[in-house]
């Protein structure tokens, strides 16, 4: 918008700086494959895999899980990510969070929010937040794959949630979270979630949802 009114706000202007933890995970990614052959072999033995995004979107991720079925714990998490520094570092950190200390219970892992990953990384630039939500999504896809493979259909996530952006698989719940975190306009929600960048058809529905959640939480 060339003629919009601009109001000067007090915000963090360090939007391009990455913390040392982000850099460490970016340059030394944890839980990645050493060769493509290793990745192909692993794909066959993984208990669950999930893929989100596409090269046309500018980011994409595949996550592989190995799960201790008795303890319902994640024992291994491997991943492949196409994306920027934030996307790569957050997947790496997420894979560590899932598997450290003998592995996390699936139930607890499902409660990890993108914000938790960002905190573990020592913070990420605000405008890069959307890049960190991908890990969470790929993980949910992988867990659902595991539930399907082990015939635990009642545990599949996302029932009750509706996919709004068909390309990035962004749900109404993601939009709800974004609004809760203070994104009150379409532009702000898009900055956080990337919704509607590739699936432009979903924009009216996103706008409607923002209004619904604003009313619900802020009474506007």
């Amino acid at each position: 918008m060339p003629d919009e009114l601009i109001q000067i706000e007090e915000t963090d202007n360090k939007e391009w700086f990455y913390t040392d933890i982000v850099k460490d995970h970016f340059f030394n990614p944890r839980n990645v494959f050493k060769t493509k052959a290793e990745s192909e072999a692993y794909a066959k033995e993984a208990d669950g895999t999930g893929l989100v995004g596409s090269p046309a979107c500018g980011d994409g991720m595949r996550m592989f899980l190995k799960i201790d079925k008795e303890k319902d714990k994640i024992t291994e998490c491997k991943w492949e990510t196409y994306g920027c520094g934030t996307a790569l570092a957050s997947t790496s950190m997420f894979s560590v969070m899932l598997t450290e200390n003998d592995g996390m219970k699936i139930e607890d892992a499902l409660n990890i929010k993108p914000k938790d990953i960002a905190n573990k990384l020592g913070g990420i630039p605000a405008r890069k937040f959307h890049c960190s939500v991908l890990a969470d999504k790929a993980f949910k896809e992988a867990v659902n794959d595991f539930f399907r493979n082990t015939n635990q259909l009642n545990r599949i996530q996302g029932t009750g949630k509706k996919i709004i952006d068909k390309v990035l698989k962004i749900t109404d719940e993601d939009i709800e979270h974004a609004v809760l975190e203070g994104a009150l306009s379409f532009e702000d929600v898009q900055k956080k979630t990337k919704v509607g960048i590739h699936d432009k058809g979903c924009i009216p529905e996103v706008n409607r949802l923002i209004q619904v959640y604003r009313e619900k939480y802020f009474g506007e």
Binding site: P2, F27, P55, G58, E80, T81, G83, G85, L88, H130
Partner: protein
Amino acid sequence: MKDIYLDHAATTYVREEVLKEMEKYFTEVYGNPGSFNSIGLKAKEALDKARDKIKELLNAPSEKNIIFTSGGTESINLAIKGVARSLKKKGNHIITSKVEHHAVLETCKYLEEEGFEVTYLDPDQYGIISVEKLERAIKSNTILVSLMYANNEIGSINPIKELAEICKSKRIYFHTDACQAGGLLNIDAKELNIDLMTLNSSKLYGPKGVGLLYIKTGILIKPIIHGGGQEFGLRSGTENVPGIMGFAKALELAQLEREEENKRLGKLSKKLTEGILNNIPKTVLNGHPKNRLSNNVNISFLDIEGEALLLYLNEHGFCASSGSACTSKTLDPSHVIIATGVPYEFAHGSLRITLGKKTSEEDINLMISVLPKIVEKLRLISPFNLKMEEVKINAR
């Protein structure tokens, strides 16, 4: 580890000769050229000399054809808004292209809100605007055409003389954004038959914060900045004398050296381009293979994202840039690369390397040896493995 700066299209350092030229205008000849006292008059004298030098370099008939501004963006705003508003009664149609710099695109969008109608031409697959395409877009109410001389992202060079010729024959004003061309191409305004031309200093080893708009004699234009009436009433505000002195020196040196420098840079760019395309699979050159700026190399890599590539390169000391979505404010990949019909898969993985005066063959060799390893590492952790034939360029 030393930094290897390969982002000269973004901005250049200030060369020694230029810095030296500027120095005394900060501390000795610091007067206001508008003041009637000895130090002010000295500053005015210097300013006149700089303007005269640039007049010669541009082959302009009069000093009054040169309006100093704060840089490329301001010159572009003055050219487009100034001409459009002055000709409002004659017509309201402006033609530009989809690969222009944001300074042009956003100014045109702004004018749309003022009631102007703008045609954004599609370039060919190399980012070039053909004379035929421009001719077809001209209407009876067209008042201004603004097309860049050379592209800042992919380096492609427009047939500026021919484009200007068409406009002249139809009595339409022609402005060219020559910010990237100023240090490397012919900027003879008379020979090129140009009505308005934007140049800036910070891309040709001059200081930042200085630019100019060349305006041909007889052109009707309104100022966009009002005040004390400096720059023949077209750009109010005390003149940036040290900056202008530096700019004039930088432009003089650049034009003097450009043929030799083009030869040297052309060789290095060719070596780098071939070194990347031949050694790294699934790569394409963006922009025209020959008709491009001698210092510009822009290559897309499949299966990896540009920001990640930049960060790794930076870790090896290389400063470059990318058209990836994550390096832009809009979360969209380069509008230039997309406009050329290159698919998103390529646009997200683009790398712009722009060479400069201090770029050596050693730097290029190092880049050629480092880049394949980085690409391999990033491709290994990428979930995608696209085939070149799957990602077709949509030729226009």
